[in-house]
Amino acid sequence: MYSEKVMDHFQHPRNVGEIENASGVGTVGNAKCGDIMRMYLDIDDNGVIQDCKFKTFGCGAAVATSSMATELVKGKTIQQALEVTNKAVMEALDGLPPVKVHCSLLAEEAIHAALWDYAEKHGIKIEGLKKPKSDIHEGEEEEGEDY
């Protein structure tokens, strides 16, 4: 059901854990399936993400996308991190089954939530970052037909 990359990140998730006194922490929940993801960011004075860790309560896809997302944002600037969309994460994982597309949104939202937290703590405004929703509703295309 999952690609080899997904399975690899599920079996050997990168960057699991917590960061003490993190610059930003974001927790998001997925209303669709009830899953939860938390992202910790350590951002240096130049606005570069030095470290990133996560914890996830969710399916295989949720774990793998969290892991991949942390890999993708590590070493990036805040602006670059904003460009790590769920699509980018999915592509990096060689795709997800259609019913699992929404799981990757968790990762994107978790990054945004952590950045928002960082911005609030430091009293700055990040260009292009919207206040994260606590729930993710929109997502994968569903068969709209009523059987």
Partner: protein, 393 residues
């Protein structure tokens, strides 16, 4: 290859080798259409009659009360839609429960769109239907009560005899979805006042794609699949002769071994339940502690999510399930676990392990050791567990 420990027998079972053996001649040798005049068809006809007899005997029913279908879902759809149609002039109210299989629940939703009213009975925290609610729900226009014999997720066995008696006293038809129970617990349709009963071959080491509906003589059910005159004109379609033979053989087998097999399964099931509850903290057993299917164990592990658990178990060669396999296409938490009152996030961390006759104590020891390790690991990754630990420090 790693040894496979298959603990998803409620989803489907391995077809027993002697069942396959029994089916084989009906593919390439006695392949005649049973509805024909010539002798080749006679062989098929005889085989069907024998299977029907075996099944009828298993239920204390009459041979001509057994109608073959393509499986449990068809049987359930047929029972509900076609009695609703036949008894429309009597009333439009049907009573069922909140924990039925989707084959019943989605059929009920369809009926609701077609002018019927459905009462979905609640269950208690063990998954047992509330009898007083049933009594209250009965109306003059109630035409059918449909309550499953045993639940496919949490294994709870319902008080079928009591329900049958209530239905009978009120002159209401009683259908039971016995897809999980048939072959696992003794059933007598007369003693339990059952008017219709659904079963499916692949749940008792028979083939997939075959099942039956028991219909008591005198029940005015209509056809569901219209066409040829097969099954006494009630279910059209060229008979699946190998499938029917396989179902007959599987029934014979399940009946012959029932006592010994389920005694052993109960012992192992209880061993598994005891170890898991004792050795893994923040864990609960779902379903009734004792009035449950001999082979069913269902746990909720707090702070973790079922799919991740299943994948990690699979890596060790252990097959289990989280909720009903049929609904894994959906992301909703199990309606059964919701109905017994579990909160969303606890329902999420559920694991169903369903045994078969081949499972040993050593297999279960291996499962428990792996469960402990995997659940530890998943909890260490879980933000919910982190919050919980911090709060309780």
């Amino acid at each position: 290859m790693k040894k496979l420990i298959y603990l998803d027998n409620a989803a489907t079972t391995k077809t027993a080798p002697e069942v396959v053996e029994a089916m084989l001649p009906y593919f390439t040798e006695h392949y005649g259409n049973p509805s024909t005049v010539y002798s080749l068809g006679g062989e098929s006809k005889k085989a069907i009659t024998e299977a029907r007899e075996t099944i009828a005997n298993a239920l204390g029913a009459q041979t001509e009360e057994i109608y073959f279908t393509a499986g449990g879902s068809e049987s359930d759809n047929w029972a509900l839609k076609a009695t609703a149609e036949a008894y429309k002039s009597k009333g439009n109210h049907i009573i069922t429960t909140k924990i039925e299989h989707h084959a019943i629940l989605h059929t009920c939703e369809w009926l609701e769109k077609h002018g019927y009213e459905i009462t979905y009975l609640p269950v208690d925290e063990n998954g047992v239907v509330k009898i007083d609610e049933l009594k209250k729900a009965i109306r003059p226009e109630t035409i059918l009560i449909s309550v499953m014999f045993a639940n496919n997720e949490i294994g709870t066995i319902q008080p079928i005899k009591e329900i049958g008696e209530i239905a009978h006293e009120h002159g209401i038809l009683f259908h039971t979805d016995a897809v999980q129970a048939f072959g696992q617990v003794p059933i007598n349709v007369d003693e339990y006042h059952i008017d219709m009963l659904s079963a499916s071959g692949h749940k008792l080491n028979g083939p997939k794609g075959i099942g039956f509906l028991y219909i008591r003589k005198g029940v005015k059910i209509r056809s569901f699949i219209h066409g040829g005159a097969q099954e006494r004109k009630r279910r059209a379609g060229t008979e699946n002769v190998p499938g029917i033979v396989g179902l007959g053989k599987a029934t014979e087998r399940a009946m012959a071994t029932m006592k010994e097999r389920t005694d052993k399964e109960i012992e192992l099931r209880d061993y598994l339940i005891d170890r898991v509850l004792k050795e893994i903290p923040y864990t609960r057993l779902n379903g009734h502690r004792t009035t449950r299917l001999p082979n069913n164990a269902n746990f909720s592990f707090q702070f973790i999510e079922g799919e991740s658990l299943l994948i990690m178990l699979d890596m060790e060669g252990i097959c289990g399930s989280s909720g009903s396999a049929c609904t894994s296409g959906s992301l909703d938490p199990s309606h059964v676990l919701m109905a017994i009152g579990l909160p969303h996030e606890i329902a999420h961390g559920s694991l169903r392990l369903t045994l078969n006759e081949e499972i040993t104590k050593e297999d279960l020891d291996f499962v428990v050791e792996n469960l402990k390790r995997i659940i530890d690991r998943l909890r260490s990754m879980s933000p919910l567990y982190e919050d919980f630990v911090k709060k309780n420090k």
